[in-house]
Subunit: 1004 residues, 2 copies
């Protein structure tokens, strides 16, 4: 009856570090993991798959380290080190026992502290399928406010580490998103593309769950992409009882449920009762599912610190429940894993319903819509996005400059910090304040480590001479509040602008300066036109800003090469030597913008209509705030608005009076309106010459709370568009999903929170379409925010929140962020894009989104001892990373050092089907001569997670009810080239292809 | 550096069941336990002996079973099964680690559930000294309210089980009484006599502790007997920090202290701080002790459920603290045990102060005198004493009737139940109500099991014919409330009176009957004089009493043989056939008593003077109660009176008005006064003809609480004795200790609780002496009670308590006992002995105490179908267990089946030195022909605990400051015969000698 034959115990498995995915080709006898290792089931019975598991938040009430070591236990009794210690101990004693582990951030922290003997034991357990990794990302990432690039990265890094150490037995087969607060379609698509066979989660809308259970559709095939067909289909299971054990059967040291007492002489003997209870529960659960299998999650948050307690009682439970079979019971308990459950369900060859939308928003009851966290802690959400930007820059420069075998920790610090940030209590803002500070610390440290790489890489590229002083390249991470030491303090300095996109761009560059006239010279010595723009007073006065600068210098970096950089020599000069336009305050009346993109204003100077792409339509903007509901959280109706929950006291926000003061500054490069709405709210409306969108830079805070009222600040963009209840939001920054106000696609919604219940996560954009007027209005964000369209023609985004009460979902603190003794100030950008709907605007939005996600990275080097001439003789000022730009619809999603001397490359088609007659077609790119510094000599395609060769992937097949034949037969399946070496890569709309490439650097 | 050389790990030790103590004579190489296994210390350093330990109450807030299985964890998170599971696991991984285990009740419950492999592992750990048993009794017995017989029994049974399984490596070397609420001198004496080398405890009076620490006398040699000399000397250690780890270093899953975080990259890295803190604490502690060793108790109540958590952090603590030695630190940490600490201290060859008194009462602060529990739950305290009575009867009958090898569980159930009852939260009454019920259940079950033995034994002795119906012998356990089904329901029945003493006695027998005239015939058919006495109405009305009887039948069982029985045939007959005196109500005036022992009364009939032994002196009696103090327990001054604490609101009790109603019944056998003091208080004052003491049978309850006031009921015996502040109380029923009101022998007492602080535990008697008038007044009790002499000439005993508030020492309940919906009623007896002080009275008290402890046991058999003639022809009606009675000063303390066919015999000299010119001398008894049913063919003397041959015992020697030469050179050391076979046994005053005897039964 044991899952692993006895002889497997005798196999001594050597330690292996796989340098590429699935490198290990040990004879089958050596390993017994994956589906083959699944425990036997009993036909004709209800097989109850008991899954011992722990849910280990990578930070929440305590920091990652506090959770790992089990410190600060007065906050929460949780110590991951003990979980892994004791689980491994228990597994060794009994081959029937199973355990799954999810959060690899913790696993490796633990692994690094193990000696060889323990590592050997763990390898053996993994190779026998007894310890199984599922999920496997660095953290269990949130799905609402994460960007797909970072999700893919954090999954990839988690899987990479597993693959390195455990080979194919370390490859997770199922997604395990048991705790995130709603589920995105994109995440399901990513899991599918990574080769996962299924997804399990715990949280879905309470109405949805009721419907699905009663209609037996809590299991389904999720068709997670409108573009990718079967490649993005994923069997999905909504768990019956959250991720908890059945009530009364929690045997952890953190629980108080009764143990199984099998001493017949004891007055507390309870076997008969407990078995009966359990069987009743199992039968009830089974009645809601289709197969003869049910899964029970035997664990909870940070359970198994004393693994023995759990397992000892599970042993007894299994024994005594199964003994009932002799009396005719048809309930069969077994230690199992989610993948073994999945395989058993798959073997049943049933037909499944499908789903095409997503699981947002998540409501746990009629007044608890988890839509507040879409915005909570806006500065952390921005910092994370900045981290991604820099991580990509860092990886690319590492790869481009051949910094050697990727065995250094410098890159890993930021990789792992970003992995941590994706956690569903990190970027979400649902952690305690102290923990938020620690996340910032971790991310800062990762960025600092990466700065070593960018310095090393750039300094490898720039020297023109053998002997030269090594420049120091500084990051200016606080440009968002117009603070940058080198540009403010140096009279002469070099700013090197690196372009992480694989296309040529010509971005506007700006940074704070303290002088009054500057000369900016490009590599060729040309003096570029520059413009000085005042820094608005509210920005200058942001608490904590350490800068004397009152102006920013703007210039345009024309034709910045893909994966290349251009250095600009900036020198403070006499005004007569400068080419600087000094922005003066202009008359506010008249148009605002430039020839092909401008606003008209009304008499009071308020923007009124936008003219772009030859059409003119009314737009307006308004700031406002909701007052957060306050209650004791005892009943649904008394829920407070908090870190998770958005619950406005009234459905009508308080709109700021539209009599703001504003100043207008116009100039050759950029025109700006500096508007002050009130003490704690201001904005800059900015239109760069030659750009077809409006940049709205908002500044919110410190939010006043003297009135004892929590506030949730929104901005509305109002237009004449007749959007008929529809709007569109991105899914993790990729595909668009259509939203219908006050409705859900798969059930009849009963909505008691008309505002919060219409909020959706906006990772990168929200837009409206007017099909009659053929107009579109889109807002792109620089970070995730909650958003909606509560009235036709209107877009609403929530910018910042400051609340005074906890919403009673565990964090135990009000979301009341402060800094420097005041309410936290947040600053950010919206990019307003509008005009005739259709392919032009769509492509513009897509490209703009990429440009704003991976903005050019500025590296500053103080050059007071240099002139342009001396600098340009010593250092190269231009670098081009690719031989030719990629097509407009192809995004270089990933370029990073991989294993040994190989690199990891991901190419992505950034358009959906039908978005553009030309660009939405398949496109072919040759890898061979793509990159300038090296030649790709071979490429092997992997699944999206880079932990399995594409050719080796064989996912489980599922029949759907809607169509017994696979839908999307017309997909691009056929066009995929599965040959081992494919240097010519064809991409279909929205497709991402991943390659491990071997390269030869020039001159080597 | 490891304690056990590596090769010991390779030794595979065979399973052994030792059938006699220390039977195992394995070569030294096989075992490495005891002091030889102690870890190396570092000379010149302060060696910190870290002792990983758990304190597992054998019932307290949860029942024994609930604690074992870890159920009801909402009450207290505690599961002993997990403690032993995980500790054994941890110990196996590291030979340096040590653990001690104390409460064998739990250990065997666990052991019984282990498979051979686990048992083998545990044996190995014990044989290498890594798992060490200390204490080793069935429970960690209380020391105040326990009787020495039961303490010896419970220790013996615990040690016996350890010896059976682990041989000499299972022999505890130190007493470990870390939690009991004060410490008796007798217990120390018992430990010493059992061969223990030392005693550790945690609780002593706060003033005493301060004094001892500041004078470095927290370690001492306790000279624990005025009679036994060095045999009763015990090195004693008062622990520095209770039994807790140093503040901040509690690494259990139940604690929230910070783990050792040794990741230098973590912001939570704390090694330097923690090490510094620990070293500071160690130095502070070391400053209060004399040697270069200190002991730290690394554990708490029910710790080590997750042993790994404790050990993992201790490993780090040891490592990092010891690393400091490289920088000059002189602190050396090691895993150790109390015995290894003790050995190291002994090796230091220092000189120690001595102590001759005891550690009662215990006060934890100026208003928390733990003297309430001396009386708490009086009915449990009585039931326990009844259990001991029956256990001795049961053991004796088992041995006398050769029921075969002692491998049956029948006897063990009561042995173990009594072991549980001795626990310091059982008999003490400091458990929760539900747990008290469970104790009663356990004891009832033990008694029921024993009833099988007494039935079997008696039925083996009585048959006169080959064919006969087997009589059923019923216990009447509720004779204390005049309830007995067979005597009430049968017209004819037999009562068999068994005498568990080794002396001839002639006790008065009484039981309730429903008829009006009876004939009682002895074995020879003689019709005995009988007397019917009314049952007082308050007794008849006790809630829950299930009896219609209104009278009790009294007769005297003359010349009951030692360890023998006499059956009496009782038949309800016509009055003319009966020899029954029916007690009528008499005139209350006049003397009360009999010729040589009587009271005079005043005009109102109140007893006034007692005449006995030719002297006449004033005595009076008064009942009263204290009102329990009520407070929030936040500060000492606000302590409530509760289960542990006695704290009267006022030092003056409310005395019941002395106008009680009473009736007097006189008769040939007994004279009684039935007095009703109030609704909830009454008594019977009883004088049996031919006895020289007064029996006071008190009945208290239900105590009224409608006034919201908790009450603590006392009785005072007032006399003309000028006792000059002195009184005497027994120590666990053996030696007497002199008490001085408002004073302690070893320090200047500052007393803020003048009543509670003068209370002492009265296990069997309290007495006053008037040295001028040469008078003595003693009260013997039938159970433990708190008592004092608060005024000269007065004795005060607390009978019952009902309180409405918790005293905040953990039990979390008010001591508010109820039964049948009302406050619990308690009934009990005092035996008042008085007269000229001197040997006659002293010997009388000693013998009376024995007679009342081991009262004749009544077994009833319904005999309605029999006449005396038919019964006496079928069944033997007399049995004599010994060939001749033992001398008056020798008590047969123990006769019980031991291992195989051997028996365990203990003989005890019951007098102290100088108590009687003749009887206080040494006395010699021959074992050979002592018992009637068998001959003793060989006897080997053991230490008191029967787990070590006396000849093998070599206790550690300690030098005392008072005298570098051993005191008591004149003790009986020389007179002990250490020969292997000694059938002639000489006993010195108060000496107990223990023998394992091989016997030959007559006719075999």
């Amino acid at each position: 009856m044991t899952a692993a034959p006895a002889w497997t115990l005798l196999v001594v498995c050597a330690a292996v570090t796989a340098s590429v995915p699935v490198q290990r080709n040990d004879p089958e006898t050596q390993e017994h993991c994956g589906y083959e290792s699944c425990p036997p089931i009993k036909d004709g019975m209800i097989n109850v798959h008991l899954v011992p598991h722990t849910h280990d938040d990578v930070g929440w009430l305590k920091t990652v380290d506090q959770y790992f070591f089990g410190s600060q236990n007065n906050i929460q009794k949780a110590g991951v080190q003990y979980i892994l210690d004791t689980v491994v101990e228990e597994l060794q004693h009994d081959p029937k026992k199973r355990f799954i582990y999810v959060e690899t951030a913790f696993f490796w922290k633990w692994w690094n502290r193990q000696d060889d003997s323990h590592r050997h034991q763990v390898r053996k357990l993994v190779q026998q399928g007894r310890l199984e990794f599922i999920g496997g990302g660095w953290s269990m990432n949130d799905e609402a406010v994460t960007h797909y690039q970072s999700t893919i990265d954090q999954m990839t890094w988690g899987l990479r580490r597993l693959n390195d150490t455990f080979g194919k037995c370390g490859r997770p087969r199922v997604g395990w998103q048991i705790d995130p607060f709603g589920h995105s379609r994109e995440m399901a698509s990513i899991f599918a593309q990574m080769g996962y066979d299924g997804l399990f989660f715990g949280r879905l809308d309470y109405q949805d769950k009721m419907n699905r259970l009663s209609s037996k559709t809590a299991e389904m095939v999720w068709q997670a992409s409108d573009n990718l067909g079967k490649d993005a289909e994923l069997f999905t299971h909504a768990l019956y009882n959250h991720y908890s054990p059945p009530p009364g059967f929690c045997f952890d040291v953190l629980c108080d449920d009764e143990p199984i007492i099998d001493d017949k002489h004891s007055p507390d003997y309870n076997v008969d009762n407990r078995v009966t209870q359990f069987i009743q529960f199992a039968k009830l659960q089974a009645s809601f599912y289709n197969s003869k299998h049910i899964i029970m999650t035997m664990g909870e948050d940070f359970h198994y610190q004393e693994a023995h307690m759990w397992f000892k009682n599970l042993d007894k439970l299994i024994r005594y429940v199964n003994l009932r079979q002799a009396n005719g019971s048809n309930i069969n308990l077994l230690y199992s894993t989610p993948s073994c459950y999945l395989k058993a369900v798959n073997d049943a060859k049933l037909s499944w319903t499908t789903k095409q939308d997503d699981f947002f928003p998540y409501a746990s009851d009629s007044h608890a819509y988890w839509t507040g966290y879409y915005t909570s802690r806006p500065t952390i959400k921005y910092f994370e996005r900045l981290g991604n930007n820099y991580l990509q820059v860092c990886k690319q420069l590492y790869a481009l400059t051949d910094l050697g075998p990727e065995d250094q920790v410098d890159l890993n610090a930021l990789r792992e910090a970003m992995g941590v940030m994706q956690h569903h209590d990190a970027i979400t803002g649902t952690e305690k304040q102290k923990v938020a500070f620690d996340y910032a610390r971790i991310l800062s440290r990762g960025i600092a480590e990466c700065n070593i790489i960018t310095n090393t890489a750039v300094n490898k590229l720039v020297p023109l001479r053998k002997e030269y002083p090594t420049p120091v390249w500084e990051n200016c991470l606080k440009l968002n509040v117009s603070q940058c030491a080198p540009s403010e303090e140096s009279k002469n300095f070099v700013v090197t602008v690196y372009n992480p996109l694989a296309q040529v761009i010509s971005p506007y560059i700006r940074f704070p300066v303290t002088g009054s006239s500057y000369k900016v010279q490009d590599a060729k010595g040309n003096s570029l036109p520059t413009q000085l723009v005042p820094i608005p007073e509210p920005v200058q006065n942001i608490p904590g800003r350490m800068s004397q600068a009152t102006q920013e210098l703007v210039f345009r970096a024309v034709n910045l090469k893909p994966l290349g950089f251009q250095s600009y020599f900036v020198s403070q000069v006499k005004s007569e030597e400068s080419n600087t336009y000094i922005s003066d305050e202009s008359n506010a009346s008249g148009n605002f913008g430039h020839k092909t993109y401008y606003y008209t204003t009304n008499r009071r100077g308020v923007l009124k209509t936008l003219t772009t792409h030859g059409v003119k339509f009314q737009v307006a903007q308004a700031y406002g705030y909701y007052e957060g509901a306050v209650g004791d959280n005892e009943e649904a109706i008394n829920r407070s608005s908090g870190a998770y929950i958005f619950r406005p006291k009234s459905s009508t926000p308080k709109i700021m009076p539209n009599r703001s003061q504003f100043k207008t500054f116009k100039g050759p490069l950029v025109s700006e309106r500096h508007e002050v709405i009130n003490d704690w709210l201001s904005q800059v409306v900015r239109i760069y010459t030659d750009e077809q969108h409006t940049e709205v830079e908002w500044l919110v805070g410190p939010l006043p709370i003297k009135d004892g009222v929590g506030k949730e600040v929104i901005v509305k963009y109002m237009s004449e568009l007749s959007s008929k209840g529809k709007f569109y939001t991105d899914s993790n920054g990729r595909e668009l999903l259509e939203r219908t106000r006050n409705a859900r696609p798969t059930w009849h919604l009963k909505l008691e929170e008309p505002v919060a219940g219409n909020y959706y996560p906006i990772t990168s954009r929200i837009l409206l379409r007017d099909t009659d007027k053929k107009l579109e209005l889109a807002v792109l964000t620089d970070r995730a925010q909650g958003g909606s369209s509560l009235k036709d023609g209107e877009l609403e985004l929530m910018l910042h929140r400051r609340l005074l009460h906890d919403d009673a979902f565990g964090v135990g603190e009000a979301l009341n962020e402060t800094a420097f003794g005041k309410g936290l100030v947040a600053r950010g950008k919206h990019y307003l894009v509008g005009g005739p709907s259709g392919n032009v605007l769509t492509v513009y939005e897509r490209q703009l989104a990429q440009e704003k996600l991976l903005t050019p990275w500025l590296l500053f080097s103080r050059a007071d001892k240099y002139s342009f001439e001396s600098w340009s003789k010593t250092y190269r000022m231009e670098f081009d990373g690719v031989k030719m730009p990629l097509p407009a619809n192809v995004h270089l999603l990933t370029l990073e050092p991989w294993k040994g001397r190989s690199l990891l490359v991901r190419l992505e088609h950034i358009l959906e089907k039908g978005e553009d007659p030309k660009l939405s077609k398949s496109v072919t790119v040759s890898l061979k001569n793509l990159f300038a510094p090296f030649e790709i000599v071979s490429a092997r395609e992997t699944m999206l997670g880079a932990n399995e060769w594409k050719k080796d992937s064989s996912r489980l097949q599922w029949k759907t009810e809607s169509n017994s034949i696979d839908r999307h037969e017309d997909t691009h399946q056929g066009s995929l080239n599965h040959a081992e070496d494919i240097l010519s890569v064809t991409l279909e709309p929205m497709q991402i292809r991943t390659f491990v490439v071997e390269v030869k650097y020039a001159g080597k």
